[in-house]
C-alpha cells in the first residue's frame, strides 16, 4: 500500500516538473509549483501514517500544515508579481518576458 502512495506522489512530482517545463502561461506555472509542493506534502502524510501500525507521527502532519501555509505565501507573491508583469507586458506568456539578455 505504501508503495502505491509513494509511486503516486512521484508521478505527481513528475507532472509538476512537466507543467513547469512545457507550460507558457504564468498562472499555469504557479499551479505547477503548487503541484510540486503538494506531491511532497502527500509523501509526508503517507510516511507519517505508515510509520507504525495504529500510530500517526505528528511531525509529518505539522510539516504539512506549515508547508501549506508557506505555499500560500509563495503563491501570493507569485500572483502579485504576475499582475505587475501583465501591466508591463500586456500578456502572461512567459516567452514574451525575454527582454533581459546577455
Amino acid at each position: 500500500m505504501l508503495d502505491c502512495y509513494v509511486m503516486f506522489s512521484a508521478v505527481l512530482f513528475i507532472i509538476g516538473v512537466y507543467c513547469l517545463t512545457t507550460k507558457r502561461n504564468m498562472i499555469r506555472m504557479i499551479l505547477g509549483i503548487e503541484i510540486l509542493i503538494n506531491a511532497a506534502n502527500l509523501n509526508f502524510i503517507v510516511f507519517s501514517a505508515f510509520r507504525a501500525a495504529g500510530f500517526i507521527d505528528p511531525l509529518g502532519h505539522s510539516i504539512v500544515m506549515i508547508s501549506v501555509g508557506l505555499a500560500g505565501c509563495v503563491t501570493a507573491v507569485a500572483l502579485a508579481i504576475t499582475i505587475y508583469a501583465y501591466k508591463h507586458y500586456g500578456t502572461i506568456d512567459i516567452r514574451r518576458l525575454s527582454r533581459l539578455r546577455g
Binding site: 509513494v6 506522489s9 512530482f13 509538476g16 516538473v17 513547469l20 504564468m26 506555472m29 505547477g32 509549483i33 510540486l36 509542493i37 506531491a39 511532497a40 506534502n41 509523501n43 509526508f44 503517507v46 510516511f47 507519517s48 510509520r51 507521527d57 505528528p58 511531525l59 509529518g60 505539522s62 510539516i63 506549515i66 508547508s67 508557506l70 505565501c73 509563495v74 507573491v77 507569485a78 508579481i81 504576475t82 505587475y84 508583469a85 508591463h88 507586458y89 512567459i94 518576458l97 527582454r99 533581459l100 546577455g102
Partner: protein, 484 residues
Amino acid sequence: MFGSVLDVIVFFALTNPIVGWATLKFNFKWLCGVYSLAGLSIAGVELYEISTNAFSRPLEIPLSPMPFESYLRIDALSIFMALTFIMIGFFVTAYSIRFMESEGGAPLYYTSLLLMIAGMIGVVSAGDFFTFFIFWELMCISSYVLVSFRRRHWEPVEAGVKYLVMSSAGSAAILFALSLLYGLAGTLDFIRLANAMRNPQDIWIYAILMLMILGFGVKSAIFPLHTWLPDVYSAAPSPISAILSGVVTETGIYAICRVLSTIFISLRAEWSMILAVLSIITMTFGNIVALLQVDLKRLLAYSSIGHIGYMLAGVATGTPLGLAGALLHIFNHALMKGNSFLCAGAFIYRIGGRRLDEIAGVGRRMPVTATALGISLFALTGMPPLNGFISELIIFTSTIQAGMIWLGVCIILNSAISAGYVLRIIRALLQTTNEDKSADVKEAPIIMLLPIFLMATLVLLFGVWPDPALKLAMKAASTLVLKG
C-alpha cells in the same frame, strides 16, 4: 522565543511599519532605516554575548512543546555565518537609507530586508530540517519581494518572475527530498539523521542526494541552474544585489556543506566527485562569460558564479581545511563582492548608467568610490595583500592535500582569467574621455560612502591580518566534520 538574536531582528522587522507610520507624522524620511540599523546593532551585540558559550558547547533552544524535536542549535558554524549575515546586513541597511530614499515604501523594504536576514540566521542555526525549511522559505519569500521591489520598472519584474519560478521549484525539490528522507529515517533531526544514515542500504538515498543538490544548487547558482542569477543581480536595487550575492546565495553553499557532511558522509566518494566536476564547470563558465559583459552589474554577477565555483571546490575536498577555506571564502566574498555592488550602486546613483562605456572616466570624478571598487576587484582576483588571496590559497592547498591537483590548477587558471575582466573595469574607470558628460558628477553622498569605505578597509584588514576570521572558520569547519 527563537533565542535572543533572532528575536531582536524579527521584533524590529515587525514593528517597522509602525515606525513607518510615525515617519509620516514627524516628516523624517530616514527613520525606518535608522530604526533597522539599531535593530541590527542590538542583534550583533546579542550574538557576541552568546558566542562565548556557543563555542564550547552548542546552544540548544527548543521551539515547541510538542512530542517531536524542533529546535535551534547554535554552534560555532552558526555563529560564524550569522556574524557574516549581520555584518553585511548592517552595511547594506546603512547604504539603503540614502539609495532607496526616492523609491517610497520604506517600511516594506526594511521589513523584508530584516526578515530576509532573520531567515538566513534561522537557516544556519536550525537544528533539524523542519525548522530549517521554515526559515529557508522565509528567506526565499522575502528575497522575491525585494528583487521586484521597484515594480514600476519592467526589468525587476521580469527578473523577479524568473527568480521566483526557479527558486520555488528548487524549494519544492528540497521539500520532496525531505519527505523521502523522513520516510527513510523517521526523523528530521540533524544528529539523529547522521546516526541513522551511517550505513545506508537503500537505493532511495541517491534520489535524495540528487534532489538535494538540485534544490540547493538552484539557490546557490551552480552551473546548469544559474540562469536566473545574472538577470536578478543586474535588475535588483544595488544594495539588494550586494546582499543577494554576498550572503543569500552562500546560504545555499552552507546548506550543501551541512547536508553533505552530516547526512551523506557515507557517500563521500560520490558527492566529492560530482561537486568537483560541477565546481570546475561553474567557475570556468562564470569567469569566461564575465569577460564578454559590457554591463558592470551583470559582469559582477557572472563573477559571483565564478566564486561559487571556488567555494564548491573547497566543499568538494571534504577535508576540514577545504571546508574552512570554503567558509572563509564565503566571509571574504561577502565583503568584496558586496562592496563591488555597492560601488556600482554609487555610480548608478550619480550617473544613472551602469554600462562600462557610461562609467568611463568616472574614477577621476569619484575617487573614493573608484579606489574602494579597485581594492575589492583586486581582492576578487586573489591579489596577495588582500583577503581574497588568503581564502583562495587555503582552498588551493586543501585540493592538493586531498589529492585533487587538477582542481587546484583550475582554480589558479580561473584567477588568471578573472584578472582579465577586472583590468577592463579598472581601465574604464581611469579612461580619459573627450566628452564633458561626467564633468558635473560629484562624489557619492557621505552616508553611502561610509559603508563602502568601511568594507574596503575590512577587505584590506582581513588580507593583512586574517587570523581572527581564519580561526573562526577553522573552528566552524571542525564542528562540521566531527559530527559526521
